[in-house]
């Protein structure tokens, strides 16, 4: 049995995409989660719903809109020339943008829950001890919500690894550039390369198992810490 050598290409690309997406999501998702918890504006639930939309939307719908937006005649066509490209569609940055939007709820929700579970009291206590809101956020809110950050990071990473519809729509299937694992498996099956397909598929099963197990262990630890 010989595996085709370029089986590593989609794996590396997938990990790169998932890592980039996770980092961006932690940076973008934290202020959004914080705002959703602390804001008293009536329309905050509308924003929360908007963030959560990818949970129920068919990936192809989001992919379609992203394709339009990132293409030469959308906003992406205005941004792309900054690094000398014509379009963001069918590029790695395009994939990152799509994955960030699509995995957003998986990161925002756990962080938001963790901030909510913490309540207002720790922040109030910090304020009465002369901590500025900025200092209180980093020294009290973030450490207390750390299980939420961990859960969010794992879920965001795993969800990006498993994504198929969105990447297919906006990334296409360009080996080495936009061909990620899930698309590669599809490709291998199409071309009757069963060995490669089953190796990747088995790897994904193992990966998914580890993710779920990790989540359960974190949750267990959180329950113990709370009591």
């Amino acid at each position: 049995m010989t595996l085709s050598a370029d089986i590593w290409q989609p794996i590396r690309l997938t990990l790169e995409l998932a890592a980039t997406t996770t980092v961006i999501l932690l940076i973008v998702g934290t202020p959004i989660s914080w705002w959703l918890v602390r804001s008293r504006r009536w329309w905050k639930e509308a924003i929360a719903a908007l963030v959560a939309i990818p949970l129920v939307l068919p990936p192809t719908v989001l992919g379609f809109y992203l394709l339009v937006a990132l293409g030469p005649s959308g906003p992406g066509g205005l941004l792309a020339p900054l690094w000398g490209a014509r379009t963001l569609a069918f590029t790695f940055p395009g994939l990152v943008i799509g994955s960030v939007l699509f995995s957003m709820p998986f990161v925002v929700q756990p962080i938001r829950n963790a901030f909510e579970a913490m309540g207002e009291r720790p922040m109030e206590a910090a304020a009465t001890l002369r901590a500025s809101p900025w200092r209180a956020f980093w020294t009290v809110a973030v450490p207390l919500a750390s299980p939420g950050f961990l859960t969010g990071a794992i879920l965001g990473f795993a969800h990006t690894v498993g994504e198929f519809g969105v990447v297919l729509m906006i990334g296409g299937n360009i080996p080495g550039k936009t061909q990620v694992l899930s698309v590669a498996i599809y490709d291998y099956v199409e071309n009757s390369q069963w060995t490669e397909a089953s190796v990747l598929a088995l790897g994904m099963v193992a990966f998914a198992f580890c993710v779920i197990l990790a989540m359960m262990l974190i949750e267990k630890k959180m329950v113990r810490a709370a009591s």
Partner: protein
């Protein structure tokens, strides 16, 4: 006057709760905010801390924290705040909790780490996690944490209410020591009169979002127009000085303005200041000095004013001394004996005091 007082005026709605409360009290000693649950004590103290924002003004020792145009956020107000639940940071050790609000600048701080740790008896807890502390220990650490932030005003929101009686008794002495050792004004919320009588110097009486009265504790206790003097266990707190000590029969003599009390007590030092508590129900009246009685404390006094109650009893305000200008006492007698003895305001009588309690050490005269 306003440069050494805590002056507060809040009015408005917070949620569905209406607060319309003003008071001004000296910025020293313990001021108790007293009233039934839900009367706005916590809202008031949160507004003073800057945790809630309500229309009005607030200034402490001449420093304006809030007025019509300015609102200083909580983290810029020099306060210490002790919550009902200790609210320690669970991810930090006791030591790091204590140090959280401690100024980093190394100027010799007024309230030192060692001093606080000793005062509160938490030396052995420093490296522990707050998760492994008892309720009483947690609350002591919370008090220490608030003190080490070098506050100019300490706000305490029923710091004992979440604790059982044993734990309360364990913490109260620490609060008393705090009061004695530190020259730090304290605003203390309580709905427990026994706690107030033990700790407070001034009292702010609240009812349904309003301030009924504010002033020295004994003045408000003696005000017959206030609900305090008419409550079931109405009492007067008297600050007394030990003037004699009889070791043979274990009795001490404590002097108040216009009279003195003899009571059984552990050895006291002459000159010590102590607080006495005399309940209205424990004071009966006589027109002449009783010749033979087991009641040792019989003091000449004058009836200053009276108030009849719905239960056929009369509460009388007495001034100690033959001219009635000394310390005040309350006496509660039945309407029937009141009429039989033909008692009336202005009359000189003898107050027979059946029970006197020592409630706490008084701070050395300032």
């Amino acid at each position: 006057m306003s440069s050494d007082t805590v002056k507060v005026d809040f009015h408005g709605l917070l949620g569905r709760f209406e607060l319309n409360a003003q008071f001004e009290v000296p910025a020293r000693g313990v001021t108790a905010l007293f009233g039934p649950s839900g009367c706005g004590k916590t809202t008031m103290i949160r507004c003073i801390a800057g945790l809630n924002h309500m229309n009005g003004s607030c200034s402490v020792t001449g420093d304006v924290w809030q007025d019509d145009r300015h609102f200083r956020p909580a983290h810029r107000r020099p306060i210490g705040y002790v919550f009902q639940e200790a609210n320690l940071f669970p991810h930090l050790s006791v030591r790091r909790n204590l140090m959280y609000g401690h100024p980093r600048t190394s100027e010799p701080s007024a309230i030192g780490f060692g001093e606080v740790v000793t005062l509160l008896g938490i030396e052995k807890l420093l490296e522990r996690s707050p998760r492994h502390l008892s309720g009483g220990e947690r609350q002591r650490v919370a008090i220490g944490r608030a003190l080490l932030s070098q506050p100019k005003l300490l706000l305490m929101d029923e710091p004992l209410s979440a604790l059982d009686q044993t734990t309360k008794d364990e913490i109260l002495p620490y609060l008393e020591r705090l009061h004695e050792t530190l020259k730090l004004p304290i605003l203390y919320i309580s709905h427990d009169m026994a706690e107030v009588e033990r700790l407070a110097d001034q009292l702010v009486l609240m009812r349904a979002g309003r301030v009924l009265a504010a002033g020295a504790l004994r003045d408000l206790q003696a005000d017959l127009s206030l609900p305090l003097a008419l409550s079931r266990d109405a009492a007067i707190s008297l600050d007394a000085t030990v003037i004699a000590q009889d070791a043979a029969d274990g009795m001490a003599t404590l002097e108040v303005s216009g009279g003195s009390f003899l009571l059984p007590a552990e050895p006291l030092r002459i000159g010590d200041r102590r607080r006495l508590r005399v309940e209205a129900d424990d004071v009966s009246l006589a027109r002449e000095r009783p010749s033979k009685s087991t009641i040792v404390n019989v003091l000449p006094a004058r009836i200053l004013s009276i108030r009849s109650q719905s239960d056929h009893r009369v509460t009388a305000l007495l001034g100690l001394g033959s001219d009635g200008t000394g310390a005040k006492l309350l006496s509660r007698v039945t309407e029937r004996s009141w009429k039989e003895l033909a008692l009336e305001p202005g009359l000189d009588v003898f107050a027979q005091v059946k029970g006197v309690a020592l409630v706490r050490r008084e701070e050395p005269a300032a």
